[in-house]
């Protein structure tokens, strides 16, 4: 039984990290309807900046982590300004392709630094003995991940519900034309959405980097890994990202806990999300919490 509970706990932990990685995706899509394929690269950059500040500059990690979030915040904002501002109103394919181009460019820039081909890891700053409750254990790193995820998500939810800018962002995502007519600067909202996505990506990068170590290949893969999560949750729903993240985490843990190693199966946790993704796309394309704007022709 404790095996089962362990799987549940790990599933939730992994799921919340998925949610955090998917959050940036949702933020961008929600406001500007852009699918950001380069998200994985931004996650990686966030992690690298945290590392550079901690080890090369020598800041304590609780300073460098928020600082890298802020730097990535402005970085993502300028990315939007340079690459995407010109493409407002272009067909979807152009916008997808520009993020693909962006991915390649960021790859190139990362290869300019040692991070492209070398491996690093954060200096340990958390106790290594895990928290154990009744046979179920969870590491401090994971605990930190969960905490950061939920506080960030709570922060964003509050921001969208209560603050003026948040409300104007929601207005833009609802109807751009109408919000322009009441004096909201739509481009600025887009920029802000990217910036916030950058911020959450840096947080995700820091946490994933702490779990897997800093390897560019591993980190950037998370851009693709979160696809099924955000689709399951609905591309434009923050709550959806959280719930779907946790569902996905649980499914993966259960798949590798109960399916792998039996009946000659292996690596099911890898592909199951994509199978679920296809099924969801067929039967519930807007996900669990996405806004239905379906038109059938």
């Amino acid at each position: 039984m404790s095996y089962f509970f362990q799987l549940v706990v790990s599933g939730i932990v992994v799921g919340s990290i998925y949610a955090l990685s998917g959050l940036g995706f949702v933020l961008i899509y929600k406001s500007s309807r852009v699918l950001n394929i380069a998200h994985g690269q931004i996650i990686a950059i966030g992690a690298f900046i945290t590392y550079a500040l901690t080890v090369w500059v020598g800041l304590p990690i609780y300073v460098s982590f928020p600082m890298s979030m802020i730097i990535t915040f402005f970085l993502a904002m300028s990315v939007e300004r340079v690459f995407l501002r010109r493409l407002i109103g272009e067909p979807i394919i152009s916008v997808i392709m520009v993020t693909i181009g962006l991915m390649s460019i960021l790859d190139g820039l990362i290869y300019l630094t040692p991070f492209g081909t070398e491996n690093f890891s954060f200096p340990p700053f958390l106790p290594t003995t895990p928290i154990a409750i009744g046979g179920v254990s969870i590491s401090w790193t994971q605990m930190l991940g969960v905490t950061v995820t939920f506080s960030l998500i709570a922060g964003f939810s509050w921001f969208f519900k209560k603050s003026t800018i948040g409300i104007s962002m929601r207005a833009v995502s609802d109807d751009q034309l109408a919000s322009m007519s009441i004096g909201i600067s739509v481009p600025r909202v887009f920029g802000l959405a990217w910036a916030m996505a950058g911020l959450s990506a840096a947080a995700a990068g820091g946490i994933i980097g702490n779990i897997t170590g800093l390897n560019f290949d591993t980190l950037q893969a998370f851009g693709i890994v979160v696809f099924p999560v955000v689709i399951l949750g609905g591309l434009d729903s923050i709550l959806g990202a959280v719930v779907a993240g946790i569902i996905m985490g649980l499914i993966q843990q259960f798949a590798s806990g109960y399916l792998d190693g039996n009946w000659g199966l292996n690596g099911t946790g890898e592909v199951l999300p994509y199978i679920i993704l296809l099924v969801i796309l067929l039967f519930k394309p807007h996900g669990l919490f996405g806004i239905h704007e379906i038109e059938r022709v």
Partner: protein
């Protein structure tokens, strides 16, 4: 009909039939014929090394695949981020025959044109299957559906023993009238084979676009509700667009398999799908000649950047990292610059050049 059958300086069409002709003037037709002839003849006069012949072959295979992608993404407006998987389906059809019958079975060595056709059909079948969600999905969601197909394809190949778990399944050299194609003439032989396929498919696609079946693709892209009102079935049209794209991709995959004499999963990954999309964009979406420009430009750029980075690596010691970074950087920059400054791709430059030449010495 213009008075002059060789040159037309304006639009003299009096019927739709005339406007839909492949060649407007005799000059067009002659130029095209000469161009095709030149394509067939140049290897007789210039000898290029195996590497460049392989690059040329590669470009041609990509041309076929991108033609397919252009049909589904350019003409029918359905974004496909899984095109390499369709190409892979074609290649793995050949590989399956090879692993079931043996790599030197007569079907593979002698009846390879038939095999290429079968691979195309398999591609079409899977294309239509993956296109099924298009009945319900649009835009982004469809793009993601194709992406998930790509992922599932990779997983299946990677884990199934039948497909050698993604390792290379080798295929024997084919036999032609002159006997088995030797290593020396392999790439040249396939250059001609692929060229023939391209000429056939190129004209087929051009013709298709003149018929109602081609025009309905464009109609559904531009406004599916209007197309519905006109009596087309948008859903079926989309599935059929995917099927067509799948066919061309499958053919490209089969040619790839024969050209490289082996099939391995590394040639059909998400990265390649993205590459095909980039080629289509740079060439010009929704144009037939864009399918030719795109692969050509991207691959030539790749070669030149390689040369440049080699030079930089050798002469500028401080730039060691720069040399490795140049490739992704230039690839990304090309995509972004094209999207920003010339979203209609190189095909548009071609169009401008043509109309300039046609009107010369006059200007608008």
């Amino acid at each position: 009909m213009s008075a002059n059958r060789w040159l037309a300086t304006g639009n003299y069409f009096t019927s739709y039939r005339e406007e839909q002709r492949i060649f407007f003037t005799s000059l067009d037709k002659t130029a095209m014929l000469l161009f095709i002839l030149a394509l067939f003849a140049w290897p007789l006069f210039f000898h290029v090394g195996n590497k460049y012949m392989l690059v040329v072959d590669n470009i041609l295979v990509a041309v076929i695949a991108v033609m397919g992608l252009n049909l589904v993404t350019g003409f029918a407006g359905l974004i496909s981020i899984g095109h390499a998987a369709f190409v892979g389906i074609g290649a793995y059809t050949i590989a399956s025959f090879a692993s079931v019958l043996g790599a030197n079975h007569i079907l593979l060595t002698h009846a390879w044109p038939l095999m290429i056709f079968i691979a195309g059909c398999m591609g079409a079948l899977f294309g239509a299957l993956v296109g099924l969600p298009a009945l319900r999905l649009k835009h982004l969601y469809l793009a993601i559906a194709t992406l998930s197909f790509q992922m599932i394809f990779q997983w299946v190949i990677n884990f199934m023993n039948f497909f050698n778990q993604g390792q290379t399944i080798s295929i024997d050299r084919v036999v032609w009238f002159t006997g088995q194609v030797s290593r020396r003439e392999h790439y040249l032989f396939w250059y001609y084979a692929i060229l023939v396929v391209i000429v056939i498919t190129g004209f087929a696609v051009r013709n298709l676009l003149r018929t109602r079946y081609g025009r309905c693709l464009v109609a559904v892209r531009d406004n599916d509700r209007a197309a519905d009102a006109m009596g087309m079935h948008p859903g079926l049209t989309k599935v059929y667009a995917f099927g067509l794209a799948g066919f061309l991709a499958g053919v490209a995959g089969a040619l790839h398999a024969f050209l490289y004499r082996g099939v391995g999963i590394e040639s059909f990954t998400l990265h390649h799908s993205i590459n095909y999309l980039a080629m289509a964009i740079v060439g010009g979406l929704g144009t037939l000649n864009g399918s030719f420009w795109g692969p050509f430009v991207i691959q030539v750029l790749d070669l030149q950047v390689e040369r440049l980075s080699e030079w930089a690596g050798a002469h500028l010691t401080f730039a060691a990292n720069l040399a490795t970074a140049l490739k992704p950087l230039s690839f990304g920059l090309v995509i972004v610059l094209f999207l920003m400054f010339e979203p209609r791709g190189i095909a548009n430059w071609w169009r401008i050049t043509r109309s300039y030449v046609k009107l010369w010495p006059f200007r608008y």
